[in-house]
Amino acid sequence: MLITFLNHQWKAFWRSKNKGGSIAAQIFIGFILLYLLTVAVLVGLSLEILIEKSFPGKDVFVVFNGFILYYFAVEMIMRLQLQDLPTLSIIPYLHLKIPKQTIVNFLNARALFSAFNILPLFLFIPFCTTAIADVYGSLVALMYVVSIISLTLFNNYTALYIKRLSISNLKVVPIMLASIFTFGLLEYFQVFSIAARPNRTFNVISLHPIAALGFSVIALIVFLINSRYLRNNLYTEELSRNNEKKVSTDYPILGRFGEIGTLVALELKLILRHKRTRSSLIMCVIFVFYGFLFYKKDFLQNDNFAAMLFAAVFMTGSVISIYGQFMFGWQAAHFDGLLVNKIDFRKFIKAKFLLFTIMSTFTTLIISLYGFISWKILAVQFAAYLYNIGIGTIIVLYFATRNYRAIDLTKAATFNFQGVGASQWVLGLPYFLLPYVIFLPFFLADRPYWGLAALGAFGAIALLTREFWVTFLVNQFNKRRYNIAEGFRE
């Protein structure tokens, strides 16, 4: 029976209607996965050397033991954020003549098929079979492997259990995250070092290898708790959504913009009320830290803005590129409704401009904090900001009128390549190259500030001539709106 279920899942995966779509996307995902696994294996194999280099003078095994714990703590946080509950897949089986226990077993087995469960094996097992086996003997190495597998399973089922509990009680996840962060902070400020503890625990394993089975026991207990919970609550309604009361909201500030404001409010609600759009937004927030990678001291001293400009364009326009690339696919489900109602397409396009401008202004204000490092950063970012709200928005919206792929908002977001098509790949080129086309001539002529000024000026000109661009985009939209609507209906 279990095999049949898994077989169905396998088919569901390969036969899903909107699976990636284009071959390019498939290949890209394949490469990313391959890359991640290769990195994991390489890191795993060279762990001994890496540890010796990064922590000279420290005992390799002490560091390794600490590393295991850190890894699983971070993994736990990521799992809580990213791992999906395999619940909906059981709906077609619930009413059939299948014992509940079998369905629970299926859910538990299904949960094992996650990248999170493979990665630690690649990371840690090479070290166990080489370094640990050499020093402590093969039994200890074996027990290390056992404890790592057990910890993986423990994390897997604990994360799922917490997520399931959080459906009925929303407070669980924040509490969990807060406690992990507190431990992290305590560790960081050396108040109470947990890293010392695993070392002691794992020391025990090297002395009494059988003790590793303790981890297995804990994992088993969590597994059983999880199974019991599932068995007692095997109702999709209780497992998959919370019944929190939804309230109508209203954004009075946007009301000032009239109909355009109404349309922006509509889209803001779309962003805030779907998981997939919310995680796009979280991505944008994470990219705010991009500056730390690119704003290097020597770049700043030499006025070498070329590399910094990329980060600045990316950060000031993160919403424009990350959210905008799928436009108008986000609204695919009700696109017909938008077309037949009394909505002026001109205002529809203007609303997109307003949304982008608001979002971009907001992020630019936040990343102005980089100004504490150097005022030059502010200059680069301001030029990038003008480019984004002036020209970047036009580029993104132009490609939006050529994007016929619907986005399925009901699906989760991470590693979801549904709705990715050629237009997303093509879009990146002009969007990121154009600033350089403007900036580089001045930069190469050793006038970096002139380059920034030129970039800002072009952005400002596009901004001042926005009416013209709106007309242009409306014409583009009108030319293809039947194709867009037809693509979205599929």
Partner: protein, 231 residues
């Protein structure tokens, strides 16, 4: 009100809609009947400028719907859930649609009171997003939002489907009342011959995209239709 001429829609090698000439007069209530694949929804979509006909044109009050958008001021429609914005609450949706016609939120909520009976206490202040309503209730929201615009031309695709019997009867009387009060022109498609003959004063029968019959309803209409469909 509506003039259709030489209208053709072809998918691949199949002609889905093929209407040489069709006039719809102001104030008429028209029932569109036909089996699946007769082209009812495709015709509606072309009337609403959602798909482009291969040939021919549709004039609404003398203006081509594909070239002008004035028809949106006086046309309201509900074809399927694709017309609903499903992440809004029912109230938010009504206020949004009302806002497009410059109704204030207070006005909209006040106006909706008259639909209390039609809603049967299942729509308003439920604290749910539209996507969480049942299909029948989603239908009600879509129909009410269309009626709320007090249109001159109303287009509904299978409005009786998914509705419970009580609501079906209430919807019929709603449409009849509106017709008397405001001279609204209505286009309804339905598989329920009883309802169609009851509400409509003109029936258009489509088959494979062609208009097979076009006649005014009288006491024999239902029988006639039943005979046609049982052949």
């Amino acid at each position: 009100m509506l003039e259709i001429s030489k209208l053709k829609k072809i998918y691949g090698s199949k002609t889905v809609v093929n209407i040489e000439e069709l006039q719809i007069n102001s104030g008429e209530t028209i029932g569109l009947v036909g089996n699946n694949g007769a082209g009812k929804t495709t015709l509606f979509r072309m009337l609403l400028d959602l798909i482009r006909p291969n040939t021919g044109e549709i004039l609404s009050k003398g203006e081509n719907v594909a070239k002008h958008s004035k028809w949106k001021d006086y046309t309201a429609s509900y074809l399927d859930e694709g017309f609903l914005i499903d992440y809004l609450t029912a109230e938010e949706y009504f206020i949004f649609i009302g806002g497009l016609h410059n109704f204030s939120p207070a006005h909209v909520m006040d106006y909706l009171h008259q639909y209390n009976e039609f809603f049967n206490d299942e729509i308003l202040s439920k604290g749910k997003y539209i996507r969480d309503f049942s299909k029948g209730n989603q239908n009600k929201i879509g129909i009410a939002a269309a009626l709320m615009q007090s249109p001159e031309l109303l287009i509904l695709d299978e409005p009786f489907a998914n509705l419970d019997p009580t609501t079906q009867i209430r919807l019929k009387s709603l449409i009849k009342n509106l017709k008397q009060e405001s001279k609204m022109t209505t286009l309804i498609s339905s598989h329920d011959l009883n309802h169609v003959t009851d509400v409509c004063d003109r029936i258009i029968l489509l088959e494979k995209g062609l208009v097979i019959k076009d006649f005014l309803t009288d006491e024999n209409t239902l029988k006639e239709l039943e005979e046609y469909f049982s052949e």
